[in-house]
């Protein structure tokens, strides 16, 4: 391979033993001349790439420049997919050849630490799906919906350009450096590279960011299910379904994961269908029509139980169900958008693109659009998956490009689809659903009034339309269903009903969408609480050794309770917030997630500076700087802005003074109690903002300092594992090139003579 042209590693250790001397294995990396032959530019290839470029260009022209009636959703597919292909083929290839320089002659952790469990060389296509299922969740579905407030264009540009230059780069690089370091986690790498202070700051940032992410995701679920008997019933049934699956896998047919997931999925569909009947019955309304604050407490209780119970009971089966649904739903949605080609109702740029007082989320486009979209363009959380889990399964270093970079492109495409779905909803309905309860009063009339008071050209909604839409999706009301999930569900239902079922199926599709979003989120809540609990017990173990013992039940309960109290208090606070929890808290979620990305990129910067890279460090430094600017500036506004709708402390001060003056209502808060809530909430939110940004700044400053040292040739730590020579071969990309196929055939022959070197489950003759 061309990127093997400059070997920079010391001679690898030979662990082949004597067998290799008599029957040497075929090359473990594609020889450079074969690679060059496969990648030579032919007229046909040039024509294909020219067509892709033209199609993508046409897509962008249709989205950005042509001003017709309504732009068609299909152009988003062309613009995004073609841009991804070009970004993958050219930019990620450039990163691979000039920055990462993988060496396929080196064994990966999956090979040298092969244990048949955590470390297993895994077929690259399987691992792609596995990695994607681990990184994708509700984030890319929710952020773009909120961003549609500003029109579709700013969001689309950031999702597509951001993923190519920042998000996919981060995922790829973290995966690559962790693979060279025995699959070490981001936290461990932070300590290794940045030293004690940087390591502690990274740890505090990661833990607190994890809690805020869990809290706000949980709030999305609460908002989607609040006062919806159908939603509560069908999502609630996922718990007994998961219990059944866990029981089935433990006692009836152990290991039949595929089978039980299919059964569970069928039960889920039955639960959604049954939900209509339950929601229309009196007892159903009495039992399952639950207020948001109560639901919040139920989710807190659930989160605690799920984190202390053994994983086989609840967590593992839910995870199977969630993975099963995730891949299925995303494929279905992509097909539906191509088939239906919905016309978009949102303008390219709305009035709010140049204002800071949007009803969905407050703040100007720069920086708040970038933090709101969060996961679809750049997600720091992915760095936790790209380190630790996936690197222990990679077969070849050169595959990290396809898995890390390629996996993130797919997530970005999910975000684009969510944006299309949200932008295909009538604008009046969109704002009625996403404006806070205090603004609309929660009634159709109130919402209609509020929408017309916004004074947006061409945006209005009749109360009857809102009532009719609510009826169509089987809900009492769709007013002020903030959080993004219900809006996305409505958009999806509008698209899916045109493929299957028509109007009669609208309510089914709506609740189907609510169900899978809730499923993803609750899985993230379980897993997030559990991971956070282990991080805490690790720290407490320094003070009291026994916390490190995973079998100590009391310790597990205490640490879980602390972590649940952490996110639970933010959740309760958000649910009771008179200003609308999503409106005020979602930017905090976005900032937290992007700060984590800045931390991950900082670590990559130090690693590659110490490897001796120079100008190519800009590949990391530019997105890192951009993320640092949007998050630090975003935090700055949240902390110091004098505009109460944006600055937490300004709002805090305003309400405090109003209370001191004896006022009994202010803005959206209608009573003294609500005003006191605002005073408290803004103080907590403001303090969290400060905590995040201080931790992230410490990490970034330490990282920049270490990088400058490295550029001067000082402090050049090498934290890589000693190279081990590989005795394994697998192609690099999703498909195999002709030379790769030929090499695979050579290996198949060699492995038939040396079956003890064959890790694949197919080659073993069973």
């Amino acid at each position: 391979m061309s990127h093997n042209a400059q070997p920079e590693e010391p001679e690898a250790v030979d662990r082949n033993g004597s067998a290799a001397l008599t029957d040497p294995h075929p090359p473990t990396a594609l020889p450079a001349e074969d690679y060059a032959r496969d990648h030579r530019w032919t007229p046909a290839k040039i024509a294909i790439w020219a067509t892709i470029a033209l199609l993508g260009g046409l897509g962008w022209v249709m989205l950005a420049l042509v001003r017709g009636e309504h732009v068609n959703g299909i152009w988003f597919v062309f613009a995004s997919v073609c841009t991804y292909l070009i970004g993958y083929r050219f930019y990620s290839k450039y990163i691979q050849d000039n920055l990462v320089r993988p060496d396929d002659r080196r064994a990966t952790p999956a090979e040298y630490a092969y244990d048949g469990k955590d470390y297993v060389p895994t077929d690259r296509r399987v691992l792609y799906g596995h990695h994607f299922a681990a990184i994708a969740g509700a984030g890319p579905l929710v952020g773009p919906v909120l961003a549609a407030q500003m029109g579709y264009l700013p969001g689309t540009i950031w999702i597509i350009v951001g993923v190519i230059l920042a998000g996919a780069v981060q995922d790829y690089l973290v995966l690559a450096i962790s693979t060279r370091r025995h699959g070490r986690s981001l936290g461990q790498m932070a300590r290794d590279e940045l030293g004690l202070v940087g390591g502690i700051a990274a740890f505090v940032a990661t833990l607190s960011i994890m809690l805020i992410i869990v809290a706000i995701l949980a709030m999305v679920v609460v908002n989607a299910l609040g006062e919806s008997a159908w939603g509560v019933f069908s999502v609630g049934l996922t718990i007994p379904i998961a219990l059944f699956m866990g029981f089935y896998l433990r006692f009836i047919r152990p290991g039949k994961v595929m089978e039980v997931s299919a059964i569970g999925c069928a039960m889920l569909l039955a639960a959604i269908i049954g939900g209509r009947w339950v929601s229309e019955s009196d007892w159903g309304q009495t039992l399952f029509h639950i207020d948001r604050p109560v639901l919040a407490w139920m989710i807190i209780g659930y989160g605690f139980l799920a984190a202390v119970l053994p994983v086989w009971v609840l967590l593992a089966p839910r995870d199977y169900l969630s993975t099963f649904m995730k891949v299925g739903v995303i494929v279905m949605l992509a097909l539906a958008i191509v088939l239906v080609r919905p016309a978009l109702q949102a303008p390219p740029l709305s009035e709010y693109a140049s204002r800071a007082d949007g009803p969905v989320f407050a703040g100007p486009l720069f920086p708040f659009l970038f933090v709101t979209i969060a996961c679809g363009a750049l997600s720091g959380f992915h760095a936790l998956i790209s380190s630790g889990t996936t690197p222990k399964l990679v077969e070849k270093e050169s595959q990290t490009r396809m898995i890390g970079y390629g996996g993130m492109l797919m997530e970005s495409f999910v975000a684009i689809m969510a944006l299309v779905a949200a932008a295909s909803i009538d604008r009046g309905i969109y704002f009625a659903m996403n404006s806070s309860f205090a603004a609309t009063g929660g009634t159709a009339e109130g919402a209609a009034q509020f929408i017309s008071s916004l004074g947006l050209t061409g945006v209005s909604v009749e109360p009857e339309v809102l009532e009719h839409t609510a009826q169509q999706v089987g809900e009492h009301s769709i007013v002020s269903r903030t959080g993004g999930a219900p809006t996305l569900a409505l958009g999806l239902a509008g698209i899916m009903k045109r493929v299957i079922g028509g109007d009669a199926m609208m309510a089914f599709w709506y609740h189907f969408a609510i169900m899978f979003e809730a499923l993803f989120i609750l899985t993230a809540v379980d897993a997030g609480t559990r991971v956070a609990r282990f991080m805490l017990s690790d720290v407490l173990g320094n003070v009291y050794q026994r916390f490190r013992d995973p079998k100590w039940t009391a310790g597990a309960w205490i640490t879980t309770a602390v972590m649940v109290a952490g996110w639970g208090s933010i959740l309760v606070m958000g649910v009771n917030d008179p200003l609308g929890g999503i409106n005020t808290l979602f930017p905090l979620f976005g900032i937290a997630n992007q700060l984590l990305a800045a931390i991950a990129l900082s670590i990559c910067l130090v690693v590659f500076a110490r490897k001796g890279r120079r100008w190519t460090l800009l590949i990391i430094a530019v997105p890192m700087l951009f993320t640092a600017v949007i998050t630090v500036y975003g935090s700055y506004l949240k902390i110091f802005s004098p505009v109460p709708a944006i600055g937490y402390w300004a709002n805090h001060q305003m309400f405090k003074e109003a209370l001191a003056n004896g006022e009994t209502s202010l803005g959206l808060a209608g009573s003294v109690e609500e005003m006191q809530t605002v005073v408290f909430n803004t103080a907590v939110q403001g303090s969290l903002s400060i905590l995040f940004v201080v931790c992230a700044l410490i990490v970034m400053i330490v990282a920049v300092w270490r990088t400058i040292q490295a550029l001067r040739g000082q402090n050049l730590l090498n934290t890589e594992e000693e190279p081990v020579e590989s005795v394994y071969y697998a192609p690099s990309g999703l498909g195999a090139s002709p030379s790769e196929k030929a090499l695979q055939a050579q290996w198949a022959q060699w492995l038939s003579r040396h079956p003890e070197k064959d890790f694949s489950t197919r080659g073993g003759g069973h």
Partner: protein, 66 residues
């Protein structure tokens, strides 16, 4: 005939990939590891293997994303 066999092999590999993504093939990997590392003791039964696997996950959780 060639078409049906191509379709069949495509279906088989789609099934294999789906099993892998879901993690359903963990026991196969374990058996393969047991076989080639030449352990003296008999491999765990499928039931026992999954019990141990979940017990390990209890002690060492993996992260899921937002």
């Amino acid at each position: 005939m060639a078409l049906t066999s191509t379709l069949r092999s495509m279906l088989a590999s789609a099934c294999r990939i789906a099993r892998g993504v879901l993690g359903s093939d963990a026991y196969d990997h374990y058996l393969r590891h047991h076989e080639i590392t030449g352990c003296a003791h008999a491999p765990l039964s499928e039931r026992e293997f999954w019990r141990q696997r979940y017990a390990e996950q209890d002690a060492n959780p993996g992260s899921r994303c937002c």
